[in-house]
Amino acid sequence: MIIKLTGGKVYDPASGMAGIIQDLYIKDGKIIADPIDRGGDQPVDKEYDCRGKVIMSGAIDMHTHIGGGKGNIARTMLPEDHRKDPVARTDITRSGNGHAMPSTYVTGYRYAEMGYTAGFEPAVLPINARQAHMEMADIPILDKGGYVMLGSDDYFLRMLTAKKDQKAINDYVAWTIHSAKAIGVKVVNPGGINAFKFNQRKLDLDEQNSHYGVTPREILRVLATAVKEIGIKHPLHVHGCNLGVPGNMQTTLDTIQGIGGLPMHLTHIQFHSYGTEGDLKFSSGAAQIAEAVNKNKNITIDVGQILFGQTVTASGDNMRQHANHKYASPNKWVCMDIECDAGCGVVPFKYKDQNFVNALQWAIGLETFLLVDDPWRIFLTTDHPNGAPFTSYPHLIRLLMDRSFRNEVLATIHPQAQLMTTLGSITREYTLDEIAIMTRAGAAKLIGLKDRGGLAPGYFADITVYTDNANREAMFTKPDYVFKDGELVVVDGKVVHTKWGTTHIAKPDYDPSVEKDLQAYFDKYLTMKLGNFKISDDEITEDGRGSLSVHPLAEKSS
């Protein structure tokens, strides 16, 4: 069967198309070249009139907490949040609940209804990876994947203390990616989650873990090197030190400098861009951070924009979450130490536009978006649900694309915060092409997806069709059509059909002898056998819904 999308204005940065009117053809789930041009005689079975409409590939959220234990703690902890947003079952969709941390089915439907076709969980604890995959297996429509968390696990820190060579580290990192079925590697508060278990309450970039004597700076260097050398395309995904601490802008600048040119992705950088100026000793460091990002081409970032309202923060960074528990709203929170592996902290937050700090956080995120020049190196996130639920993306896109709207909102926030931001003077408005880069082509490239995030022949037919609308929030809230793997799943912003996406992974090489030391360590110190720890392929695929898509590695660099 051939589907034709006729006459749409195509934004496909992956192939350099920015608003070119072009027909698209779909066959067997993929985009194909014009079959007539190719001399074929297959008729078009179904045609969609897309004249006057905007076409992009399906959007990819490269950092969203959609699978894993901390999310389920957040869900379970907040029944009052669900009660305000029940979602009834229909003939084709399951029931559930929404708002800050929606149930899995609702997560899939609502992402798809905004034109998203993939989401990546950034904090997969190796020991909790099974849960992350099981939750994501219950998210319909979307493709998914995860970045596995390392850097506070005792095995790794013992290796550093024992001065194991980079090759040994590389083998361990690659083995962990295999075992956890991940596509990238994340580090959260490098070594800090571990230090919290030794009762350290803060850990600066050059501060030593009291037990292991290693610093976050060393951890970052070693892990970023490993990721590069084993050929993982996604740069080391870094949630830096000192999240939320006034003055952490300097930590972030030092982190950029300290990585020595290695590829590094700094996530939810808004939370790491704070100065200490002004009467309230809290100011925007966005300009300095943006300048450093612009200058250092090895750095990519996502913003972690906050938007006003109730949400819940769920993070692996239990050290910082514990420090912030006094801001919990409502006043309940969870911190966990987890399996000599990592930790988590879940703290509900209500960001208020009349709160000086929150208002300035909002402005700092937007300043960052607008001051970073290269849309291929910055990504649109709210760090769902930490800055705001993902359902606020259309509103965020409007803030980026519509200066007068942005300034209207700016005029309503805490007056002191208005004085402390340059936002009002920034004239930049994001273009549709730039939005398509940030949320499609750039994201696919950053993660290393070989055949997603583009509309050229050969790509999977993940396609979103919007009605062009000067109100960009309305436009991005309700696409006319969304196709997933060539199947029409959304019409006029409502799910009309569901299917199951795939799980994107990478399979870097490693020396199998890495398991010798690991086996001994597992037997001696952990609570699970090594063989039972590793996730097998059939755990993802045996129910007939899941599948694995393996993506190519980068060329070996050394």
Partner: protein
């Protein structure tokens, strides 16, 4: 005959995965690392694998159709038990969504003591490997740990620890209930300190302990039969420990009304200790009959733990109203579907409403249900996933034998499919 090693158990709550079993036809024998909880559960005789309608042997298809027709005629079905693996819960929740049922895990009244605390104030908790390697002081509150988890001390306390010079020096304190055996005695003979009180006095005991941790003056000389001076020494030890762990079994506290307040007081005390310069964590013990699995899967599917109803077309949560027994006794339910794939002794409550049982093969009944569909046991008859007590680690269950029994997920999906056929 085959021997299978590193077998994980879904029965004991702590996810023991070092069992060796011998499989001889349908017979299973635990030959290494068994315990009084796991060994009988693995070695349980298979029983009659035939489905029945009103005590008469029928085909699986007939039993499924009958179950579907009973559910089709219902106004308010209740799905009780909810003791199965992750895939079983997926099938169960899908069927519940379809039929507007109430879903109620059989362990919920115990688990509620924890959930109400989580939903009201939260906690700071830890997991088993952290206990094994970091815990230098274990306080057991109101629970006979070794009956609940026979191998707890052997596996998680009296072993080599990464961060303790001598793990035999770990201190164990029982507060409230005294231990029933000597598992808590360290390998070098150091016995646990026991501060016993009546179960009913536990709220008072933990209330005073928290006050002492916070440095509040206490005028009384004893609380719940325990000298305040002794409680003060526990408070001092908790504040002096590097990594104290306080554990409780939510079900063991149930003699007290609103036992969630015990869990909450303990959890708030742990938070206080962490604000007073040292580390301390809680460790709720659970994991029987798939309770954590039910709550996890229900959590991500609905946003709520496993006491929800779907009768309005979307999930609603009420920790009290949707109790299986209460609903049936009050005449609020008109059919019971009992799902219990782990435990032949966990039978459905007996009532006059039509009852369908999807149960572990070999289950015997006080009153024959209208429909009985024997299913395989996750971790014996089919692969699967189950959660262990710390709620973080999901274990991969193995298939040990093939006797042709369907899984819970297969049966519940077949019933849902039959219902769709009936309504089409």
């Amino acid at each position: 005959m085959t021997v299978i090693t590193e077998v994980p158990s879904p029965f004991c709550g702590v996810g023991t995965d070092d069992l060796t079993v011998q499989v001889d036809g349908v017979a299973i024998k635990v030959t290494a690392n068994g315990c009084v909880v796991n060994t009988p559960a693995f070695e349980q005789a298979l029983g009659d694998a035939n489905p029945r309608i009103a005590a008469k042997v029928v085909s699986l298809q007939e039993a499924v159709s009958k179950a579907a027709s009973l559910l089709a005629q219902t106004k308010q079905p209740v799905i009780g038990g909810c003791a199965t693996d992750v895939n079983g819960m997926r099938g169960l929740l899908s069927l519940a969504d379809h039929t507007g049922a109430v879903v109620d895990n059989m362990g919920f009244n115990a688990a509620r003591n924890n959930f109400l605390t989580l939903q009201d104030s939260g906690w700071m908790n830890t997991t088993l490997a952290e206990v094994k390697n970091r815990c230098d002081l274990l306080v057991v509150v109101g629970t006979d740990l070794e009956t609940l988890v026979p191998r707890f001390f052997e596996r998680y306390l009296w072993n080599e620890a990464m961060f303790l010079e001598d793990s035999k020096q770990r201190q164990v304190i029982y507060l409230g209930k005294a231990p029933s055996g000597n598992a808590s005695t360290s390998p070098d003979g150091q016995k646990a300190q026991v501060l016993a009180s009546d179960d009913g006095a536990l709220p008072e005991v933990v209330g005073v302990l928290r006050a002492l941790v916070k440095g509040q003056p206490i005028r009384a000389e004893q609380a719940g039969g325990i000298a305040v001076a002794d409680l003060q020494s526990i408070a001092d030890k908790l504040l002096a420990a590097k990594y104290g762990v306080v554990t409780w079994g939510a079900g063991a506290l149930g003699i007290n009304n609103h036992a969630e307040l015990i869990v909450q007081t303990v959890s708030e005390m742990i938070k206080d200790i962490n604000d007073k310069g040292t580390r301390c964590s809680g460790l709720p013990l659970a994991g029987k009959d798939g309770d954590l699995t039910a709550n996890q899967v229900c959590g991500w599917t609905t946003g709520y733990p496993a006491r929800v109803r779907f009768s309005k077309g979307y999930p609603e949560y009420d920790p009290y109203l949707y109790d299986t027994v209460a609903m049936i006794s009050n005449g609020e339910a008109d059919v019971l579907l009992w799902v219990q794939a782990f435990n032949v002794n966990a039978k459905p409550p007996v009532y006059d409403i039509p009852t369908i049982v999807v149960g572990r093969c070999g289950m015997l009944f006080d009153k024959e249900p209208d429909v009985f569909i024997p299913v395989g046991t996750p971790g014996i008859d089919h692969v699967g996933h189950a959660y262990r007590t710390d709620n973080v680690v999901a274990i991969r269950l193995k298939k040990l034998r093939d006797v042709g029994l369907p899984s819970t997920a297969e049966v519940l999906s077949a019933i849902e499919l039959a219902l769709q056929g009936a309504s089409a």
